[in-house]
Symmetry: C2
Subunit: 334 residues, 2 copies
DNA sequence: GGACCGGAGACAAACGTTTGCCGATGGTTG
DNA sequence: CAACCATCGGCAAACGTTTGTCTCCGGTCC
């Protein structure tokens, strides 16, 4: 492990000053082409690679971007991780993945630690409250996913639209009374979906029973399933696939046939939605595209030559029908 | 976004030289306690935080560690990611996650790019061949998972031992002829499992049919399942859970009852193994612990006060029995 | 022939930190 | 009282890069 060559070595080898060597390698046209060639050749021969640290110190930019997720093991984030990673790599940025442990404190600790280290961050499903989130958004460049912040660019996945589509699907199968097993009150998606369901229900002539909030974890599906069974409905829309998995578990445990006696719809189409039996009908979210778009917005914002201005990208969803939804059972009219 | 305070500001505020301020904050005892207190107070008041970049340039260490995985969306790596992330965070290191896209070129590109940026790396399931891997291991500190490298520390998950256990489980259920749907030839785990199976088969009086290699993806399970059915066996050990998922898919498609007509055993116990129906009997690998141990070894190696020497940690596995294995069907003796 | 100009290279400062070394101060010891 | 030593603070170099500014040189224009 010998000391890697520096610009100084390149300069010495090609008989020019360090500044000239620097410009020869980074500012095309600034130095005589013959000299530049000489420098480049020396650099090649020595195997010179610029030191990111030196660069960062001088330029104030590290060419690193962080992705903050509340829980790396939640399959919801896989697509996002993949999307941001691909986009960042394309621009030669280093991808820093941070797990905020589902905790506000850990998330703020991470942001504090990262601020001087990264040029910007993508926040996927931040657990911060609105005020703190907005405060942080002034601290350094960030882009949020599924979480609008005033005067900041962001990516929104239109699961609300998909929810309307899912309700229509259920209505077309004859369901007349449907439960919504909702997510956390703080969730922006949840609020929007409730609103959409209310109007769509009216339009479709379907009754929607709102249940929850439930924590979107598989373990919490049991409580949700019990509430659903108690609500006298023939179908349930779950806040997300994890909750739907839990609901399926519990329904099987209680001997309720899916979709014969109860139809179940998830949301996101995460890894595993096609593993369960019956396969889970779900609202597919283009998560990889969302990650990609978020990174895209962030990189645009980091580019000093870029015009600026905030942009909100809204991505459409679509319903994937698998085995967990079917025609409504005949109900005994009392 | 105002310029963050530097050591220079702290020094000015407390009326000492920069060097004194630096020592007051990082070298306990080196400066007079009263002065040190004054400096610390000034730092606190200004909200001073040392610049990682400045530190890195001066010390040559970035306090960043990379985790290289072939594919971030493979659930196998979730546990590892989580384990390394937790361990690194505990020591205040920044966690850089890199997806090598299942390609040797991308992996080498990533290593080259990362070498000057991170202090070391954890390689989980590297796709590099032995020579290149060893060459890289001389270039900068690294720890491998499930991939022994000469003179380097590493973590091994004893799936081979688990495989023996799984075979015993099948034998106890009356299976006498079992298939092994193997993984890539390059896989160290695969080679070891084949060896273990050979001796265990002899001991248990079970015949093992070796099939494959198969690419450990769900899509490739179909080919594996067909080969298994053709091999006239009553049970199959799959290289990993993803392949097992695919095998289950295909068996269902072909109307083969699991576990009535065929028992299936996976490996790793990834997310989803308890979602499929029947639940997948599998060899549970302590992946989070593996990630933790790998990060642990790397940090020890990075610590200059540490004695040094290479260590190999071997982690045990255990069999998780779910619904996909059952008693062997009665075979018609021909 | 002098003024002007542009090209091309070099000098040096700046980014923020750590650390080797020196000097000053004050106290202890012989 | 001199010699020595420990304590504590400061100066300055070093890490590797970028970039503002200066100089030198040759050419062009009037």
């Amino acid at each position: 492990m010998t000391r890697p060559p520096t610009l100084r070595d390149v300069a010495a080898a090609s008989g020019v000053a360090i500044s000239t060597a620097s410009r020869a390698l980074t500012k095309p046209g600034r130095v005589n082409e013959r000299t530049a060639t000489r420098v480049r050749e020396a650099a090649r021969q020595l195997g010179y690679a610029p030191s990111p640290t030196g660069r960062a110190l001088s330029s104030g930019r590290t060419r690193m971007v962080a992705l903050l997720v509340p829980d790396v093991t939640n399959p919801y984030f896989f697509g996002i991780v993949r999307g941001t990673a691909a986009r960042l790599r394309a621009d030669g940025y280093v991808h820093v993945l941070v797990d905020a442990e589902e905790s506000v404190e850990a998330e703020e600790r991470a942001l504090r630690a990262l601020r001087p280290t990264v040029d910007g961050a993508v926040l996927a499903a931040s657990r911060l409250d609105d005020d703190r989130l907005e405060a942080w958004s002034h601290e350094f460049p960030m882009v949020t996913v599924n979480r609008p912040v005033p005067d900041q660019s962001g990516v929104l996945v239109d699961t609300a639209g998909g929810t309307g589509q899912a309700l229509a699907h259920l209505a077309s199968l004859g369901h007349r009374r449907v439960a919504y097993a909702g997510g956390p009150r703080a969730s922006w998606s949840d609020r929007r979906r409730r609103a959409v369901l209310r109007t769509a229900a009216k339009r479709l002539g379907v009754e929607v029973v709102f249940l929850g909030p439930f924590v979107p974890r598989r373990e919490d599906g049991a409580a949700a399933a019990d509430a659903v069974l108690h609500a006298d409905v023939t179908a349930v829309l779950a806040f997300d696939d994890l909750l739907a998995f839990g609901i399926l578990d519990r329904l099987a445990e209680r001997g309720v046939d899916v979709p014969g006696a109860m139809s179940v719809v998830g949301c996101d189409d995460v890894f595993g939605a096609d593993l369960v039996r019956p396969g889970l009908t779900t609202i597919a979210a283009p998560l990889e595209r969302a990650g990609h778009a978020a990174a895209d917005l962030l990189l645009a914002r980091l580019d000093p030559t870029h015009p600026g201005g905030t942009v909100t990208v809204e991505l459409p969803t679509h319903l994937v029908v698998r085995g967990s939804t079917g025609t409504a059972p005949l109900r005994v009219v009392t």
